[in-house]
């Protein structure tokens, strides 16, 4: 991302040819403000159903920088100096069954409200009582990118609180898009469309959405308060996509190009790795084009029954995760599954490292990544010692190449979320449920 606004903006067309567009004067002040601050990006990656703590935990050496990666985390060896492995925190949460609690609290640090989703052994629960950390980052960074954030999924499927982790605010889940083809069409269309056509379409959509917004206001006024809240939330969403129409895609990074895409099933079990790889490609390109700076990649959902046939594992993941530690084949399979996810996380890191940033260096240099899970362990539904791996320094804010164990200290993961906010430049002192959080995570930043 260039900090010099005199540079002409570049849109790369489908053929890779550079198309010069005139700078839109109206956009200059907002962009200038944003450009004056260093670029910071945040990505969260989720995998489900807990892990095998004994196979996840690194072996500590003489200092926090002296450690040996575990069988599960071994694929991160090439990036070992760029990650921070964090063990021993309690992933806070409440309401719903173990998986619901974990999904809801993982990125929000909040309880679930009561609601319509009846879990196992618990009162029916709804959505969390607050926003997720990535959404707080999007709000705090306040960069007028085309998309405030980008939620990508891999076979996440049904809409309920077992399958949602990103929350715009309390009770406002943001569904991930499971289909790479639709992400491509929605996110990158400007890159392969004639600019004159884009401009016309924007004017037209502005008129249409203005009309739609007027209808929402009109209908809402005639409803009771609960119903009105529903329509007002929808109106806010309409206004947000309308505001995208006035947010120009300002591309100053030569690595930004129209990505290639091939059709992939969004439901076939064995298409899981392929769909995920495509989503990671798209995510990387969305950052390169500065379409967004906040993104998430959600591999399936809690309680997911993905069958990792490409690892020669045929039992469903959730069923496997419930089997006891005394059954070695289950432990081996779960270790393989989590190791596979570590490979995916490593692949995402590699993509960012391989993509130059407009201002020099790579996308990875100014990015912070978090890999998390709704549980620590599947067969207990425990959340103490939930597995967290951070990657990237967020422009030097985070010292990497470390393993930090907080075992036995009873610290809430809310503190980690505060430190994540601080690392990317959001100076909050607390996050999530206030009486859980005790401030930034000691010793991290």
């Amino acid at each position: 991302m260039s900090k010099r606004l005199s540079r002409r903006t570049i849109l790369r067309g489908a053929g890779g040819a550079a198309i010069a567009l005139p700078w839109l004067e109206a956009m200059a002040p907002r962009r200038a403000l944003a450009a004056a601050r260093p670029v910071r990006r945040f990505i969260v990656m989720f995998s489900a159903n807990g892990t095998i703590p004994s196979a996840w935990t690194p072996t500590a050496g003489t200092s926090e920088t002296d450690f040996t990666l575990s069988p599960i985390l071994a694929p991160l060896e090439p990036h070992k100096s760029d990650i921070v492995v964090i063990g021993g925190l309690e992933q806070k949460g409440g309401g719903g069954d173990g998986h619901q609690t974990g999904m809801g609290g993982m990125l929000t640090g909040q309880m679930l409200n009561s609601g319509p989703f009846a879990g196992v052994g618990a009162a029916p629960a709804g959505w969390p009582m607050g926003a997720s950390v990535d959404q707080r980052i999007a709000e705090g960074l306040a960069v007028p990118t085309r998309l405030r954030s980008l939620e990508l999924g891999v076979q996440v499927g049904a809409a309920d609180n077992w399958g949602r982790m990103i929350y715009r605010a309390a009770n406002q889940p943001l569904p991930p898009d499971d289909d790479p083809a639709s992400v491509y069409a929605r996110v990158f269309s400007d890159l392969h469309t004639d600019p004159a056509v884009v401009a016309r379409l924007r004017r037209r959509r502005k008129s249409i959405l203005d009309g739609v917004g007027g209808q929402f206001t009109r209908v809402s006024a005639r409803l009771g308060s609960a119903d009105r809240q529903r329509l007002d939330a929808h109106l806010t969403a309409v206004q947000e996509i309308e505001s995208r129409l006035t947010t120009d895609l300002v591309v100053n990074n030569p690595s930004c190009h129209d990505p290639t895409i091939s059709p992939v099933s969004t439901t076939a079990n064995d298409a899981f790795p392929t769909a995920g790889a495509l989503q990671m490609d798209l995510l990387t390109m969305a950052l390169a084009c500065d379409i967004t700076r906040v993104a998430s990649l959600q591999w399936s959902r809690s309680v997911s029954q993905t069958r990792f046939t490409w690892l020669n594992i045929t039992q469903g993941h959730h069923d496997l995760s419930h089997r006891p530690d005394s059954e070695p084949d289950a432990v081996t399979s779960l270790t393989s599954i989590n190791n596979w996810y570590a490979r995916q996380f490593a692949g995402l890191i590699s993509r960012l490292k391989a993509t130059p940033d407009g201002a020099g260096g790579t996308l990875f240099d100014n990015t912070l990544l978090l890999w998390c899970n709704e549980l620590a362990k599947g067969n207990t539904h425990g959340r103490v010692g939930a597995p967290y791996v951070l990657a990237g320094s967020a422009g030097g804010a985070l010292r990497t190449g470390r393993y930090l164990s907080y075992d036995g200290r009873g610290l809430p993961h809310n503190n980690l979320l505060v430190s994540i906010l601080n690392a990317v430049g959001v100076p909050d002192t607390t996050f999530g449920k206030p009486d859980w959080c005790t401030g930034p995570l000691t010793g991290l930043l």
Binding site: A118, G121, L174, D177, H234, A268, R323, P324
Partner: protein, 540 residues
Amino acid sequence: MSRRCSALIAFPVLVASACGGDGVATETLPLCADDPGPAPLRRMTRFEYGRTVADLTGVPASVADQLPPDEETLGFDDIAAAYSVSTLHAARYLDVAEQAADALVADDVRRPAVAGCDPSSGDATCVSDFIAGFGRRAWRRPLEPDELQSMQQLYTDTADPGPTDGLAGVVAAMLQSPQFIYRPEPTAAPMGAAAGALEPYALATRLSLLLTGAGPDDTLLAAAASGGLDTEDGLLAQTDRLLAGPRAAELFVHVATQWWEVAAIPTLDKDRSLYRTWTDATPAALAEETRLFLADAWQAAPNLKALLTAPTTFVDADLATFYGLPVPGGTGFQRVDLDPARAAGLLTQGSFLAEHAKADQTSPVLRGKFVRAKLFCSAPPPPPPDIVVRPPTVDPRLSTRQRFAQHTADDRCAGCHVLMDPIGFAFEHYDAAGRWRDIDGGQAVDATGDLTGTDVDGALDGVPSLAARLAGSAQVAHCTATQWFRYAFGRAEQSQGDLCTVGKLAAAFKGPTGDGDFKKMVRATVRMAAFRNRAPGGSP
């Protein structure tokens, strides 16, 4: 544990008799009038949205698959309290609306049909008629003057470069409007008053979405306009007209596949090293079998018995081979008779059996739990939190029954699993893919079981013995009415008024002979206060 479980079982019958009775058909409208219950603002489901947009513009209903999935709870896709909205929703509504609008204005038959003239000429009168005509269908009521004016303005703003662009702009806006996506419902009663009768257009919308899963057609809107829905006879005449059409059968399939938890079959997969005949094509074929069977059962009267016990199904050559049945003559799916000693309606279809099984083994728990939760409406409580729940490992030397012995050996499990497993064991002749088997774990299948804590208790041996009991159960009939209530009103039953409504629906469903007739229950629904009235001001 066991005390907790047994206490739950009797519940549905108690509420069944709260205010029921078999005289539903002769009672005066509306029924259960004291309390229509809450009526939270509903949004069209993806199913309803797709069908309605297809009717209006000619795009395929599958256009709605681009919308984010609907929240599902209570087993249904239309429970208003669960719905959320996001920018992804708004972005997709925009995309779909534009696709539908473009299709309509490019259609040289549909476009002029909207107003009886071709608005693509830009003729001002014709454009106005198009806006009013399309608006009335899309918004399910005539547009008010200021609405017409704002849509006219939108036409002017978007008619660039030509009139069809303006028409498409108007259509795209109307299809994203809350008047289309949601179901705002005016009543004749003032705000703050007691429950009042719905205005005729709102009633028409409820009726059409309930019976056809799509917005009202011209005939129904005309009836609303002319007072045709104001009388019992008029309302029931429209009800019968819609019930007789193909749309009602499709709606029934939509509801029943959710009730039977087989709506997600197309994405089901099995361990193909164990189930070698399971192919990429199998899930779709199983879904089609169930669709055809349900549509057929809808035409039967009474039909609960057919659903539960009919020894018939629909297969094509590939599916017959999958099941090991004789290949039927003809092309495509054919109705075939099955061995009544083995087959019993939906209960022995691959869709139901494979869905209620694991990828690599059957699950007496899932099958038994379905029967308890969805047919008796008395779900066993979940396992205590300190128990590590795990399905037993597949062992080729042991039968499923032997591998699940832990559930009866461990007291903490036995109390509740005795409510599920002995029902599930009756399904053991059907493997995890839904195919008949005589051998399991190297041993002859033992499909004996036990049904307890119901109004039709007794020993079981195979699915047909279970099906016969279910078909004769008043509890199952009442539970069916409860499931229908949840779908029809988009919410859980909660108030005394709701229990009254469910009781009336169950009475209509059972009829004097107790046979279970869905059409009669659906017809009774429109007679309920909960259907015809609403409390002003939306949900509390």
